[in-house]
């Protein structure tokens, strides 16, 4: 039922990807270091080159602490690299001033979290509409209808006016997916989207996510450990194969 489910876990040569299909995300010489205080820094990321082909479903895996979420946050533009460029559909987001980066994210990137992160004061419908409000791309009278449509597509037609706490975990993650899709972004980032769900629900939610993305030709970049997710991806990348931080903890010489 899932195309490409049988693809190997080994990363394909990246250069070939670059030339064959246009890239949704391209990283060049990206480094990310976190200050630890006392003049020490933690090198979390050092990626020379990496690209995600447009329209694909790429699964990013690797041990915890290997920089997967850090990488997602960099691609989403919620944090900035210490060095290097990050292009999302030919836009180098690392050089955009913050308000424009926010705007770009609202229009071009949908984010799905492990813990759903729905806003508890708002109904399912409002959670989706909030996303539209931030992007301000869909006319106001359209927003309610559109949000309803997306939720209905994910099987939540009867749950529109329910608050997150009135929904099951699977339903909550579906609302979060609907929210990520609200502005029809070309790229969706999902950080462990199934880790908080039981196996069968995880399977259902994953299928929904994959099918809506395929339908719309949306690029999907998923961070996951789960075998079901690994099996579903067009390609699976172990982050340790592309990320080679110089030192885990480095002492910066003080002048």
């Amino acid at each position: 039922m899932i195309a490409g489910g049988a693809s190997s876990a080994a990363p394909r040569p990246q250069r070939r990807l670059m030339t064959e299909v246009p890239a949704a995300v391209t990283l060049h010489g990206v480094k990310k270091a976190f200050p630890l205080g006392n003049g020490r820094t933690l090198d979390a990321l050092n990626i020379e080159h990496w690209a995600v082909s447009a329209g694909s479903c790429t699964v990013l895996t690797g041990p915890s602490g290997s920089g997967k979420t850090t990488l997602l946050n960099l691609i989403a533009g919620v944090s900035l690299p210490t060095a290097g460029t990050i292009a999302v559909h030919d836009t180098d987001i690392s050089v955009l001033p913050e308000p424009r980066r926010d705007r770009f994210r609202a229009h071009h990137i949908g984010y799905v979290f492990q813990t759903f992160n729905l806003l508890s004061a708002f109904t399912a419908l409002e959670n989706v509409m909030l996303s539209m409000m931030f992007a301000d791309a869909i006319p106001k009278p359209e927003q309610r209808r559109r949000a309803g449509e997306i939720l209905a597509r994910l099987g939540l037609a009867a749950r529109l006016s329910h608050k997150p706490q009135q929904l099951s975990r699977g339903e909550q993650q579906r609302v979060a997916i609907a929210r990520a899709l609200a502005n029809r972004p070309p790229l969706i980032l999902a950080d462990e989207p199934c880790a908080s769900l039981d196996a069968s629900t995880a399977r259902e939610v994953l299928d929904e996510l994959l099918s809506v993305c395929r339908e719309a030709g949306t690029t999907l970049l998923v961070v996951s450990h789960e075998s079901a997710v690994l099996a579903a991806g067009d390609q699976v990348i172990d982050i340790t194969t592309i990320n080679r931080p110089e030192y885990r903890v480095r002492f910066v010489e003080r002048v």
Binding site: T69, A76, S79, E98, P99, L119, F122, K140
Partner: protein
């Protein structure tokens, strides 16, 4: 969806905290407004009660006591002056109006004030006006035939329960000469509301019956000169005599206000603390709401909300709290909203500065 709707949703989401915060704002504001109105009312009452007449002539002694006694019916009554002082003033060519006043006993604590119809006359320069709410004014009866007609101030009538036509007396010896209520005044918001007025003839007769007094005493004479330039001359003249003193009520009042000014300052300081307390409460409420919401804020940012949008939501929220609180106090509405915005500013900035990547994780 608009950011105002988002802010209101958030407020509704923590209804009890929002309601309590609004209530505390409303209470604080009410306290401030009430105190300001009250102190303004007290000053106004003082000024309106005194400034119609520019000179007060009474017995030698303390000027403050004379003003407090004659105008506000407070303090110990001053000694009497003779009726001839009134005649002298009435016939003085520099005097436009002179009104004799005699003060004596009280009925159930409401001071007897004997005077003439002149006390209630509506002169063009008078700020204070008297109007009858029931019955009529008492008659200025001739000295030999006292009518014992009484007219009650609004509070005196209300609190003694006396109505037009009722008879009353104070002291056993007056039982044979009861007073008859002929009129009740409208409220003037001054000490006159607590007075019982009647004619000088009735007053003197009462003194004769109860104290076997044969003289015809007065407490003071209220004077309005024709020209303000004559005021100093009149003032000097009546201070030179052995029996009388003349005082400027407004000057005496100024002295009293100077003493009250200290109290006023203290009240202002207390009110400032009340305002501070309300702001602090509003601030703490918004601050904890923002802290609780760090993850939601980070999520909104990850969905593409700009810092300015988040700032707007938190500011609108604290403004809305202030609006709801201030709505109960329309007088100072604008000020409360401005203060509310101020109290919300720091939490809003905190929300504005929320780091997205650090707060998206479930454990933070």
């Amino acid at each position: 969806m608009t950011i105002l709707m988002v802010a209101l949703k958030y407020l509704r989401g923590r209804f009890v905290a929002s309601a309590l915060t609004s209530l505390s704002v409303a209470l604080g504001v009410s306290l401030v407004v009430a105190s300001v109105l009250l102190s303004r009312g007290i000053q106004q009452g003082f000024i309106e009660g005194t400034t119609d007449y520019s000179l007060l002539v009474g017995a030698k002694g303390s000027p403050t006591q004379l003003v407090l006694n004659v105008v506000f019916r407070m303090d110990v009554p001053t000694p009497n002056i003779s009726y001839s002082t009134y005649g002298q003033l009435r016939d003085d060519p520099r005097v436009e109006v002179a009104v004799p006043v005699a003060m004596g006993d009280a009925y159930q604590g409401y001071r007897y004030v004997a005077t003439t119809g002149g006390y209630f006359a509506a002169f063009p320069w008078r700020r204070k006006t008297f109007a009858i709410s029931e019955g009529r004014f008492f008659r200025d009866d001739p000295p030999e035939q006292p009518m014992y007609e009484a007219m009650l101030g609004a509070d005196a009538a209300r609190l003694t329960g006396l109505r037009v036509g009722d008879r009353f007396h104070e002291g056993e010896e007056m039982a044979e000469y009861p007073m008859t209520v002929v009129g009740i005044l409208r409220s003037t918001n001054s000490a006159d509301d607590r007075a019982i007025f009647f004619s000088l003839a009735s007053y003197w007769e009462m003194n004769e019956v109860s104290r076997k007094m044969k003289v015809k005493p007065l407490t003071a004479v209220l004077v309005r000169p024709k020209r303000m330039s004559d005021l100093a001359g009149l003032h000097r003249g009546f201070n030179l005599t052995a029996e009388t003193q003349a005082v400027f009520p407004s000057a005496v009042l100024l002295n009293i206000f100077n003493v009250l000014g200290l109290v006023d300052e203290l009240v202002t300081i207390i009110l400032a603390f009340v305002v501070l307390l309300v702001l602090l409460y509003l601030f703490v409420s918004m601050y904890s709401a923002t802290l609780e919401r760090k993850r939601e804020i980070a999520t909104m940012r990850a969905l593409g909300a700009r810092r300015a949008t988040i700032l707007g939501i938190v500011l609108l929220e604290s403004c809305a709290l202030a609006v709801i609180g201030g709505a109960l106090e329309p007088v100072v509405f604008g000020g409360v909203v401005a203060l509310g915005a101020l109290a919300g500013l720091l939490p809003a900035v905190l929300a504005y500065r929320t780091e997205v990547a650090e707060n998206l994780a479930p454990l933070s």
